[in-house]
């Protein structure tokens, strides 16, 4: 049953060193505040899963939180490389990172299979691709009805799901709207789930077929306004595309990255404090969407 708690308490109680953790959100609703808190609490040896590592995992990888990464597209969208991810893969910095590389269709199917309690997902995929040669998890099987060769991949069943959503009601039922990615599947595939939300409201008042996560599939609900930034929350604030561009410069060099993370994330108390810290850097352009 979901407990309304602080993000600090939720991360401390629900994420252990060595856990498999999936912080999901497909461009939209990326749980950046929760990512910061994982870095701040110096979680180690995590097995991270995410379709698009994005800035959230670039930060965790660069801060030495991850021992392995399962992913399907590792770039900075529309900008270029994730430099900390690349440095870890190419040079083993700050520690070697084992990668399990898959495709979007594969991981989307694998989360859905995890939610369905199955050990594997079956799909028509990877035909002619070199990925199966380098990822032994990607196998094939024959359809027992048609004889067609199909890709078989292991489902994803993380220890902890971490997502951000628009809002929860006072009982901890959660509503997601807009680009909903694989978050419902991720939560249902995971043993525990942390959800950060923009606000808690009296009633969700949602349309009948809205994406609702009932409080009994969520472990903790934490109110963190703007907790997806620089990603966005539809109905609340836009994606900070400028920050994604700025990240290219921040993350390019190890020293600049470490100094930035130390100043704005590791030395701040929480996400609100982080926001004050980065706003102080450039007061004229502070925007709260």
């Amino acid at each position: 049953m979901a407990e309304l708690t602080t993000l600090r308490e939720a991360v401390a109680a629900l994420i252990k060193d060595g856990d498999q953790v999936a912080c999901e959100g497909f461009t939209h609703l990326i749980p950046h505040a929760a990512g910061h808190e994982i870095a701040r609490q110096k979680k180690r040896n995590l097995s991270l899963v995410r379709m698009t590592p994005d800035l959230i995992y670039d930060q965790l990888i660069g801060m030495g939180c991850a021992r392995e990464l399962t992913f399907s597209w590792g770039g900075n969208p529309g900008v270029g490389s994730l430099h900390r991810f690349r440095d870890a893969v190419e040079n083993g910095w700050p520690n070697p990172l084992v990668i399990h590389e898959r495709s979007h269709a594969d991981l989307a199917n694998a989360f859905a299979a995890g939610a369905a309690g199955l050990p594997l997902a079956i799909m028509r995929g990877y035909i002619g691709s070199d990925l199966p040669k380098h990822n032994p998890q990607i196998k094939t099987l024959l359809c027992p009805f048609t004889g067609e060769t199909l890709a078989a991949v292991p489902s994803v069943r993380p220890d902890v799901a971490v997502i951000h959503a628009q809002r929860a009601d006072r009982k901890g039922n959660v509503l997601l709207q807009g680009i909903v990615g694989v978050q419902k599947e991720t939560v249902l595939a995971s043993k525990r789930a942390i959800v950060t939300v923009e606000e808690v409201v009296g009633s969700l008042d949602a349309p009948r077929n809205a994406v609702i996560l009932p409080n009994w599939v969520v472990s903790a609900v934490c109110v963190v306004p703007r907790g997806a930034r620089p990603s966005y929350t539809e109905g609340y604030y836009d994606r900070d595309n400028g920050f994604y561009k700025a990240w290219d410069v921040i993350a390019r060099e190890r020293e600049v990255f470490l100094a930035w993370m130390t100043k704005h994330v590791m030395s701040t108390a929480d996400f609100a404090d982080y926001e004050r810290s980065i706003a102080a850097e450039q007061p004229k352009q502070v925007s709260h969407g």
Partner: protein, 262 residues
């Protein structure tokens, strides 16, 4: 390009947009494909259905998205579905006419590498990886590819095949059991390449005005074959250029500067 009134990149985007037809269902990659697909929608193909892998179906963005899941795509979509549904029902289910992709590198059979330069275990350059492309390349009815032509991008041999084109040519695709036809055209800043009907090797079939055959050959890492009846791409119309430039101008304004100093 000799004519200074438009750039080679503009010609490439416009030539790519012209290949899309009204009411096509097009699965759009980010970057150059997205610019071309939206130009088509804003000019000759107002009822084209644009689909992005974030789950947005029938989206009509007024500015180009920076990411595959910008709010603009969601806010202007006919419907937004989950990512598993997107790949399972809409792509694998056979609903897509054209997959429109970019690439870091291609070879003569339009196989695509977006994974690594150098050995996989010890890459010289680690690229972003597969994303949705392997299954788009497999399951879309056909595939259009748009990228700038250079010897670094058009290579004799790929270090890694992320998404299959025509594999080693001929009827390889049919033998491998792909649902879709695979790449049928490659549009570049110099011209247009199409596969030979038998061998499936991509050959230069059109040059954009001002580009030369020698330029195209020099910008190709394999021995580029040139069609006997080499066509010249008609230059951009006034309308095409105006709509494209207005789209880029709106996009630049919308993506503005950061709230945070680097």
């Amino acid at each position: 390009m000799a004519d200074a009134t438009y750039s080679a990149d503009e010609m490439m985007t416009i030539a790519a947009a012209r290949l899309l037809r009204n009411r096509m269902v097009c699965f759009v990659g980010i970057g150059l494909p997205s610019a071309a697909a939206n130009l088509a929608r804003l000019t000759h193909a107002p009822d084209i259905v644009l689909i992005y892998e974030s789950g947005t179906i029938g989206t009509k963005p007024s500015v180009l998205p920076l990411s595959i899941g910008d709010g603009e795509l969601s806010a202007t979509a006919d419907t937004v579905v989950s990512v598993p549904e997107m790949f399972r029902y809409w792509l694998q289910g056979g609903r897509i006419n054209v997959g429109f992709l970019g690439a870091a590198q291609i070879d003569r059979f339009a196989n695509i590498n977006t994974t690594v330069i150098g050995p996989y275990g010890k890459p010289k350059v680690r690229l972003p990886g597969a994303g949705g492309a392997p299954e788009i390349a497999a399951s879309a009815g056909e595939v259009f590819i748009v990228l700038r032509q250079s010897a670094r991008a058009f290579v004799e041999k790929l270090d890694f095949i992320t998404s299959a084109g025509h594999l080693d040519g001929g009827d390889a695709r049919k033998r491998a059991g792909f649902p879709g036809k695979g790449p049928t055209v490659v549009i570049t800043d110099l011209g247009v390449l199409r596969p030979h009907p038998e061998t499936k090797e991509f050959e230069l079939v059109a040059l954009h005005q001002g580009a030369t055959r020698e330029q195209a050959i020099a910008a190709t890492g394999w021995k580029l074959k040139v069609a006997d009846a080499l066509e010249t791409t008609p230059p951009p119309t006034k309308d095409e250029l105006e709509v494209l430039r207005a789209l880029h101008a709106r996009t630049a304004r919308a993506h503005g500067s950061s709230t945070v100093a680097a």
